[in-house]
């Protein structure tokens, strides 16, 4: 069973949300899932860029007004 971690990045502005994701991904085992919720305008673009570079996959991305909820699966 893969680990799933929930992260609340509400109220954080760039680069903080990405820093938090990077820190978490360094600690977690490969294949783990990260569920992040953020309300920074920059977040949607940045998280896709981060995942692309980290070879992680975006499992889902939902927009609800200002809030973006994204599920990331870290690479194996």
């Amino acid at each position: 069973m893969t680990d799933q971690i929930d992260m609340n990045c509400l109220g954080m502005k760039c680069p903080r949300p990405i820093i938090e994701i990077a820190k978490a991904s360094r600690k977690l085992p490969p294949g783990s899932r990260l569920k992040v919720v953020a309300d920074d305008l920059a977040f949607e673009s940045d998280v896709v860029a981060w995942a692309d570079n980290a070879l992680a996959s975006i499992v889902s991305l939902e927009r609800d007004g200002d809030r973006i909820t994204v599920q990331i699966e870290l690479p194996q």
Partner: protein
């Protein structure tokens, strides 16, 4: 033990060896495939990333000229507008943004709107220097900065706005020249483009 049984054992052993080799080959091919993908993701491509940090006319002009050169050479170009350069993307008739603090309102009012209104970095003399500069440019047949910006857009540059800078200066991310075509982003987007780029510039 009969010859027949010996043959059978050998056939079985051979079969299991082939099977094992096939499995290992498959695993190796998967690993090579994965490594190739990782490598491709890291190699720089025919791509230029330009950060526009300065809000000065001459620097913005230089950045746009470089971008147009790169685009003309068939490169993919990403331009990121952050800090003072954010004001270059504003429209002249930008409506006042609501919910700003006093300092943000001050910044928003003090910063120029759009490329043509950016000040020169030297000899601006309250705008006179720029008038003279543009006179010389017209004489020499050099395109003015807003024309250059249109050309860069038409040639397909990807434009990005640093949302954090925009918020600091009270600039409305929704009201920009270029509107929807400008990607609202942060530093990770820039870095990701920079990693793929052969040319990375800070202007």
């Amino acid at each position: 033990m009969t010859i027949g049984m010996l043959d059978n054992d050998m056939a079985l052993a051979e079969h299991s060896l082939v099977h094992e080799l096939e499995a290992r080959l498959e695993a190796l091919e998967a690993e090579v495939g994965s490594l190739k993908r990782q490598l491709a993701a890291k190699l720089p491509r025919n791509h230029a990333s330009i950060i526009c940090f300065s809000g000065e006319w001459d620097r913005l002009f230089a950045a746009l000229t470089i971008a147009s050169g790169a685009l003309a050479l068939g490169m993919e170009v990403d331009m990121f507008f952050t800090f003072w350069a954010v004001s270059a993307l504003r429209t002249k008739d930008e409506p006042a943004k609501k919910g700003l603090s006093r300092v943000q309102t001050l910044f928003s009012r003090m910063l120029p709107r759009g490329f043509p209104r950016a000040p020169l970095s030297k000899f601006n003399f309250a705008g006179l220097g720029k008038v003279l500069m543009r006179q010389v440019m017209e004489q020499e047949g050099v395109d003015d900065i807003d024309v250059l910006f249109e050309q860069v857009r038409d040639l397909g540059a990807n434009l990005h706005l640093c949302t954090t800078s925009a918020d600091l200066f009270g600039v409305d991310c929704q009201e920009l020249s270029g509107g929807e075509a400008i990607n609202r982003c942060g530093v990770a987007t820039f870095m990701s483009c920079a990693l793929k780029s052969k040319v990375v510039l800070f202007v």
